[in-house]
């Protein structure tokens, strides 16, 4: 395994992800788990609806992972993103990097999630008790 990318409507399991990156040759694993918050700017969030332009999203995630591999000298990257309807507490994204020094592991993990949030065509709509809004759509 080198780069494992998945966009799925199924719940994400951390244990499964760790199994995929498991590598006895590596001395460190860094994980970022993005979860659904139950409030935004004082409004209670009841659920999120994620949608995705899948062919382009996979391409963009692949590019980001490729950049991270060459920039940080790490060996393995896993990025799994869930789409569909999620409720507070659900895991929306898991990023795992392994094999490298811990500085590179922390930096590369941050690089991947920061770039994913900026470039990858995935969108979420927040549904509140009293309305809904596409996140970040308007200034």
């Amino acid at each position: 395994m080198n780069i494992d990318i998945r966009i799925t409507g199924e719940p994400l399991g951390l244990a499964d992800c760790l199994d995929i990156v498991s590598d006895t040759a590596c001395g460190g694993i860094n994980t970022f788990i993005g979860t659904v918050r139950d409030h935004t700017k004082g409004r209670k969030v009841t659920r999120l609806e994620y949608e995705c332009y899948e062919s382009m999203a996979l391409k963009e995630i692949r590019k980001i992972c490729g950049e991270a591999l060459s920039r940080y000298g790490i060996k393995n990257i896993l990025v799994h993103h869930r789409v569909g309807v999620l409720i507070p507490g659900d895991v929306a994204v898991i990023v795992i990097v392994s094999d490298g020094h811990r500085e590179q592991l922390f930096d590369s993990c941050r690089y991947i999630i920061d770039n994913l949030k900026q470039k990858v065509p995935i969108w979420k709509k927040e549904i509140y008790e009293d309305g809904e809004a596409w996140v970040s759509a308007h200034p």
Binding site: G34, Y50, E51, C52, Y53, S55, M56, A57, K59, H81, A92, V93, I113, L116, K117, Q118, K119, V120, P121, I122, W123, K124, K125, W134, V135, S136, A137, H138, P139
Partner: protein, 80 residues
């Protein structure tokens, strides 16, 4: 020429459809497409920003369009 446009997120709401066909002059570039879209759908101008993707790659403006490409509107992304 007639081009097909994919819409996602808030743009799907603006179009009231996940895809639209649009008549645009032959050899139009991406910047021209944005102008035509904004004339037809002024709400696009109220977005924080939006990009056009051509064949699953972000376009910057001068790219020449043809009817065979996969053209998509990418409103501000919010994954993660």
């Amino acid at each position: 020429m007639k081009i097909k446009i994919l819409a996602f997120g808030i743009v799907k709401d603006i179009f009231q459809s996940p895809r639209k066909e649009l008549e645009i002059m032959d050899h139009a570039d991406v910047a021209t497409l944005k102008k035509v879209l904004e004339q037809n759908y002024p709400e696009l101008k109220r977005l924080k920003t939006y990009f056009i993707a051509v064949d699953q790659e972000y376009a910057t403006g001068p790219e020449i369009l043809n009817a065979q490409q996969e053209i998509a509107i990418i409103p501000p992304v919010s994954g993660g």
